[in-house]
Symmetry: D3
Subunit: 254 residues, 6 copies
């Protein structure tokens, strides 16, 4: 089968790390197509970064499906544009945050998530709630390291994650930990070795769940919420030049 | 005070309707700047439409603030890009869905929401949950009419809304109704007259809440989640040409 | 417009502080009527204090509306008698706890509340849940100071609030703080200056939301839950002297 | 043991019905003191009726405890003033709504509640949530009959309840039903006979739970939330005549 | 009345302790039948221990009812097999965890639970959620002592519980504590004396609630979820020797 | 890899159907071991059936792992003994209800579940809540057919499911449906063809998720909740013959 692994940000080395992780676990019959965000932010560290990365990502998903991709894995832990991607794609679309959380709910009663920056914590907490895991997720923690610095010094990232995982185990009662950034992917095995805590990398789990759903013959429902985007009547018929857009703001009031 | 009223979609007539509604209620001292989505979809009817409208909207908000806008009201009931807008803006940013729901929670114990298409129902249900109103919102209903058709024949829209509001009152026990599309704004007063059900239009409430927060001297917290987007190290230093993006997908596997 | 600012407790100086705060933000066209609880407790520090303050408050609201008040703001953070007030009043009724929480949900992703005494914490936690903010409110904290002592020494209250706000920011990840007592109202601006944490005073926000709802032409729904109290058949027709009330308890059992 | 059965409303015949029900189930060693609301509304049909009944009820509970009452059962399904009563009382205080719901959660997986008027439905739904039963309570239904009419024609009430219980069983999948008004108390046995649905009367269950908690040697915690009301510094020291109460409203603004 | 007190584990001394506690509070008219798990684990310390104890317990409940037991109390804090027991029994079945939690919700606003081992914490947290108490239960704590060691040295258990109760009061704001193991039953009075925190023992409360429900004439609903187990068509008609059970696993695949 | 497919009930033909479904989707490298409940009920239709099937199932899982099974799939939609199985097994354990629900949360925004008997509805609703899907699962429906009858006449079952799926789509707004019984497994493809609603069979998804987790190198966390069952001190040291079990109930009381 043919799976698209798409990194919504513009940092090629992060795409490459995700691809390396995925290649270690994909089936021999799986052909992987990898993509990096075009004109997207260098990293996704907030809602604006997410928003700026999505339109390009949607175009890349459409193009990948046109070239035969049967499923898509978005390798950013904020699951940016996940709902929109499920609209534009015919095949299943996996977000690594949702995938990691689902695996954690099978493998442990209580888990914690460890991400990069404090500002990402509330965003991930909202995903935890949307995915129905707020009773199982003890805490969303962070190592207070920007994504690009994390990736630039994996040794440092490893040390910070190691102590944070121990804190999650001892303070939260976490039985498993989900790594909250695609850039941490290759650190998972060593962290499990060192702590005995099951360490879940959403990239690896995401790719395997994509294979599982394809293998089960399942695809995104096209009834209602995830139906393909609606065609609009052609733009010409209405509106015309937006003469009152803010650049030339028509001011009102007395 | 100076408030930006931004319609994320590209349909100027919808912007104009929202502006007419707002002008009926703003303070004499309020100066309104209105904006219409540039290169955005003609209407927001799904997650992809939302995603495509946000980057342009964020640029317009930045530009409006540069020209003196102190608060922003996003006049689309899906509250597209609300979190991102709160990051880029210094002033408070109001989504008409959140504003309408907050007013409903003050004015009634139980309310329903009436939107346009069935596909928008789950998206709005998620907003209801994010805004903490799932115990107060009885049901998210729809009149099964595309946004542009709604706007093209307001008489028909009125009739459909009238019977749906009565259904909400009789079947849901709704004491109030929130109109689930900016395109319904001007119908609110007549619908209240005809039914006795308090009919809340998010556009009007949103503008008044923007005035209220400015009048209270409040603005978006720039600590953590809504801090301004992080500057990245300049793009040149890393990555280089994305040779392995999907157009020229580097295929792997055997 | 004409707004009633009612302090359910009997302490005039608290009413005066609330009025001073409100006067700094109301519109020039707003006429403020202020009222202090008659025969009510000196402060509201528990469920009994609340209960004892409500009947008198309801009478004052009725009387204020008879004299032209169009909206009511109850300036006690427990929102005592809020539902009952919405029944007796024709205009919108705002509780400062609900108002402060709604503002916090617009201005920040995560906030904490800081009140006076530990015994008020569970009561406010229940309000947080009723208003649907339990996912956004990190913690309800207190400075362990009785209401009247707080008001008697504002310098001391300021110091205690200052360190508690810093704790909320550092330990809870609070991006904003809602002051959990009307008696803290005038401290809000200085606390924001000193901490950079958005500090929300429910008195100020409550008055502005009252103006906003009136400006939007909205009022409390009189369908179902908040309908005016039902008239009873006249008392004479049934019962007669309550000969078996507890003072002369008719004892039974063998 | 000595238990106070207090009806917060002023209708003696309702107190008598509750007492008759209780007398059928109390232990031989239980001495029952019964009380009827003094100067309270004839019935509790909304938040204002609740508020008006509580201060008098609290005084009666204090007086009953002074005369030896060890536990209190409030026989109104809105559980008016329950938290305040737990503050003023040393012994356990039972609300018949909470008692009925707790019994239902032991005896069935899913139940419905049937009350009198539609306006009481949202109020009871909030109690269901506060008592943590919203996942177990399928629906709060009503027979659309005022409390006093219900009591005036028990035959009619029986017929309406009978068909509503059948609807709850068939439409809600209710395995048990809780009667949502003290005035329905004596109908419970016949309704169970006629339907096979377990019909729970909060009056009977409430009295038995009061006996159970006393028998277990338990009483209300006086730590924090339910501690006795705080003594205030004597009123004279502050405030003085409320010259600016609303009757003589000091008007402000320009 | 006749009540079965069943200890699902095989440790007779724990049954005896529970019986002693119960005997101190049962009515003179209550006849207690006590049972100890046959071939069950020595203690219930996890999901497997629970599972292994249930089939035998169900048989004992059936047999006890055949001999006249009218209600059953399961004296293990994990409430093992509670739903199944409610199916097989005609009378009400009480779990001491649910009973303790219900009492705590009447006697306090906020409580904590203290159990034996860390591994039991998530299991009890799930019960707290199923019983609708997650908003009232501050924390599930443990003293990190296996059940049998607890019982072997009650003095040590007392000391550990004493300091944990103080921690619950000071750190959690717990107003009451529920003892999370039947083996702690006899320590409750002394712990209350020493701390002033209301200490609830589920064994005592469970027996009294069983008496209360019987006294109220209530029993388990036999409609739907708790109906008696369905009779199956006789086994002979289908299946035959399970030749493909795993001992002789029929292997498949290529 | 080697996966155990275990049917907890005693009906071999149901095991065979599950095996046929699984064989259509497993990887060529997957070796399937299948097991049928020994001395278990013919079908699982309630909490007692579940309880009676678990101890035998746990023994079979242990034995299968001893023979090399690396993961286990429990093919009964009540997920009986899932937590206990995760304790005794070293490899991951999948319940088909949790697996089906997780797939539905990826492939649709809103889904419904269709099971066999009404009595199973509340049990499955509780699983939906435990798995965090109560906001995504619109309704748990049933076709009111006992498991064995369903399996004896698959044509009839197909017709009933077909109309129930259409009802779920039209009345619930379900975008996908999860089949709520392993005995429905082979009907999934035809039901999707006939309705266009994505029909999810937990057996197929469960096996694929088991393969995915093994492929990802993940296993159940042995920290805390799912650690292997604790060894008890040998039984001899305490208790002795349970002379006071209920058969020879030591009666107490006066």
């Amino acid at each position: 089968m043919r799976i698209l692994l798409i990194n919504p940000n513009a940092t090629v080395s992060m795409t490459e790390q995700a691809a390396r992780s995925a290649l270690q676990v994909v089936l021999p019959t799986t052909r992987l197509a990898v993509a990096t965000g075009q004109g997207a932010p260098q990293s996704i560290e907030g809602f604006t970064d997410e928003a700026m990365s999505v339109p390009g990502m949607l175009a890349q998903i459409r193009s990948a499906e046109a070239q035969g991709a049967q499923a898509t894995v978005i390798v950013c832990f904020d699951d940016p544009g996940l709902d929109a991607a499920r609209e534009v794609a015919a095949g299943p679309v996996i977000g690594i945050c949702q995938a990691g959380i689902q695996a954690a709910m099978i493998l442990a009663k209580r888990f914690s998530i460890i991400t990069t920056l404090p500002r990402s914590v509330p965003a991930i907490e909202e995903l935890v709630q949307r995915y129905g895991a707020h009773r199982h997720c003890r805490k969303v923690r962070c190592i207070n390291l920007p994504v690009l610095e994390l990736e630039a010094d994996m040794g440092n990232a490893y040390d910070l994650l190691l102590s944070e995982i121990r804190r999650a185990r001892d303070e939260d009662g976490a039985e498993a930990v989900v790594l909250g950034c695609a850039g941490m992917s290759e650190l998972a095995p060593a962290l499990f070795e060192a702590t005995g805590v099951v360490v879940i990398d959403g990239v690896i789990v995401g790719v395997k769940i994509a294979e599982a759903l394809l293998g089960a013959g399942l695809r995104t429902s096209k009834i209602n919420a995830y139906d393909f985007p609606r065609q609009k009547i052609e733009s010409g018929r209405r509106g015309g030049p937006a003469t009152n857009d803010v650049q030339t703001a028509q001011e009102v009031g007395n």
